[in-house]
Symmetry: none
Subunit: 205 residues, 4 copies
DNA sequence: AATGAATGAGCATTCATTCAT
DNA sequence: TATGAATGAATGCTCATTCAT
């Protein structure tokens, strides 16, 4: 093993560590004060590094926010796909999707705040994010519903896209209410509540 | 009509007109560039007045955004209550609520953008707004569902609050998708789609 | 008496009255908040007139301050000259000058504050004022001292100008201390204290 | 000398140098245009730095003015006390005080202007400054006069406080005349003129 | 003469980003 | 890599002054 190769590994790890530290610090700061009111020096301070060091890992404040979204979304999608591959029933799939959605955001309140608040804080971010990962997420839900319609477990008179949006919107609202709530409660169990209605509707049979 | 009353009217109208003009201009500008990236001079320019004039009608840029929300929400709530008073069936009531929600926002794209994007752009605004009008709105939905459960048309094993949030979240998502969409389509008809699922669920019976 | 003549007199009086009212109001406002922190609208408000009306009587905010100085100084000088004309002894003259100085400013705290504070708030005003009335005032003191030296009651080894400045400076300091003092006491009696030293010095004979 | 001590010194010196440079520049600018008419960018420009750099050393424009006063007054008081400690005669002490007063201000015309003009330009500053250093200064004069009365060289029928104010007022007036004068002359010698009268009075014996 | 709504120039301060060390 | 001092562009808000009524 060459000398440079030996020294590279820990260096790469260190680089990755500092990037991580900045992203974690930024998530915390953005969650507390909002993107526009957060100063780069706040992030640097929270991360325990000098202001200028931030720019060795990110090109701009804007890029930090993007990275937060990208990383979280990529991880969520990848993990989700892996889990869903092992489930065959469309109904069970949607159940796991809803659970994952609320588990992930419910496990990291700062991240949840950034997603619910900052992501929506500008059409610019929403569009960019939409292009990036959100569309893919919505598509997974849509396909699952499509499968269910084909397999006959879901009504065929509904547009899968609309169903997907409704499910997503309902879950999203659960998250928003959770981060705004003064009460502290586990978010994940709300998945069941949402699906009970989504699957069965509210009408008395 | 007395002389003073006659002369007062145009003055009041003028004041009101300029306030209106500023709010309209601000809605347009905020929708286009976002609150933080919008300059007061942009708003003044759009309204065709001098920068300083803005401050004769509003104390700060922040107050303008608040006024946009307050005015729109107050109008929506008041009109909604009036309409709902004439409907007795809970199911029909929810239908009208969903329609009104999408009609109102669908009729003014800029306003919709400001509501969907800026209102969520900060937990501060969300909380303030929540306290102001949003909570009341959600409550109207909740009560309607409660009525429906009591009258036996809605399932009794569902929490009205959760149902209300799900319906709101679903409608909200329709709006968000609509403002982000590159395609132009009427928003109001989505109310039916949402309610079809909300009422009946997605499962095959 | 012609119609216009009849109507002119009250009009002139009215004009003069409003000018007076503005100057009085401005003196009060300047005394309280300082020239730069006082708004023209503060002055108008205090005078009970509209902002714009101020500009029918004065060309600018700056001119108001000038007018306050000019009017007060002209009145002081003219009254002083009249009084002094009836006094022949230089010593008695200086006594009356000192008394007048402190009486006038001691009788109108607001005016005193404006004189002591605002007049010195800019070299510009000081120079202009110096040119206007202050130099004349100092000259009256100087001449009186000169007379006293010629008549043999004052020492001849002192420069009259320097004596005049010293007397003025001492009186001025009495006023400044008076306006800054948290205690309320009559200012005029300090004239005697100052002159006791000015005339006799502080050394034990 | 340790390594860290060596490396610290230039850094500290640099920081101190830039603060000094800003204070010097501000004194110059304030003297020329007055506090309110001076822009922060004027000060930065005069100091040869960027506008924002000013705020790395001072919290506000206001703080710069305060610092000018505080620093000059502290230096004056400290140096004065040291010198006076070596003088025992009250008469000689007052002589040195008067000389120091005029020497210090006579040596730095800009500083003198700021002291004479800006310090008096607002009751706010006067009060704050009064609390800070001026009261202490006046007290030193008063005590010296008190000593002189006790040792029998000064008349006992005069109030020390009033004497102190008179002396201060007289010196102050010398400075004010000096900065306003179009003629250039040394200020310090005026101390003798003032004391000649202060000590001996103006009356022929 | 009087009004007061409208104007728009003016300015202290902030903060993302750079760069010499 | 890391630092943090320095930069300077950017902007919300104020207020003296104007002018149509």
């Amino acid at each position: 093993m060459s000398r440079s190769a030996r020294s590279n590994t820990p260096v790469r790890a260190a680089v990755s560590d500092k990037r991580e530290a900045i992203l974690r610090a930024a998530t915390k700061v953005f969650a507390r004060k909002g993107y526009f009111s957060s100063k780069v020096s706040d992030i640097a301070g929270e991360a325990g590094i000098a202001d200028g060091t931030v720019y060795l890992y990110f090109k701009s404040k804007d890029e930090i926010l993007h990275s937060i979204f990208d990383r979280a979304m990529a991880e969520f999608i990848s993990e989700g796909k892996k889990e869903l591959a092992e489930i065959s029933e469309p109904e069970a799939k949607l159940h796991r999707i809803a659970e994952l959605h609320l588990e992930k955001l419910g496990a990291d309140r700062d991240m949840a705040i950034v997603f619910q608040v900052e992501l929506r804080g500008s059409t610019k971010f929403m569009r960019e994010f939409s292009a990036a990962g959100f569309a893919e997420y919505l598509d997974i839900i849509r396909e699952t519903i499509d499968e269910g319609q084909k397999s006959g477990v879901f009504r065929k008179d509904l547009k899968p896209v609309v169903c997907a949006k409704i499910l997503y919107g309902a879950l999203d609202e659960m998250v928003t209410n959770w981060i705004l709530s003064s009460k502290s409660y586990p978010l994940a169990p709300m998945a069941g509540e949402v699906l009970k209605i989504f699957f069965g509707g509210v009408m008395e049979k």
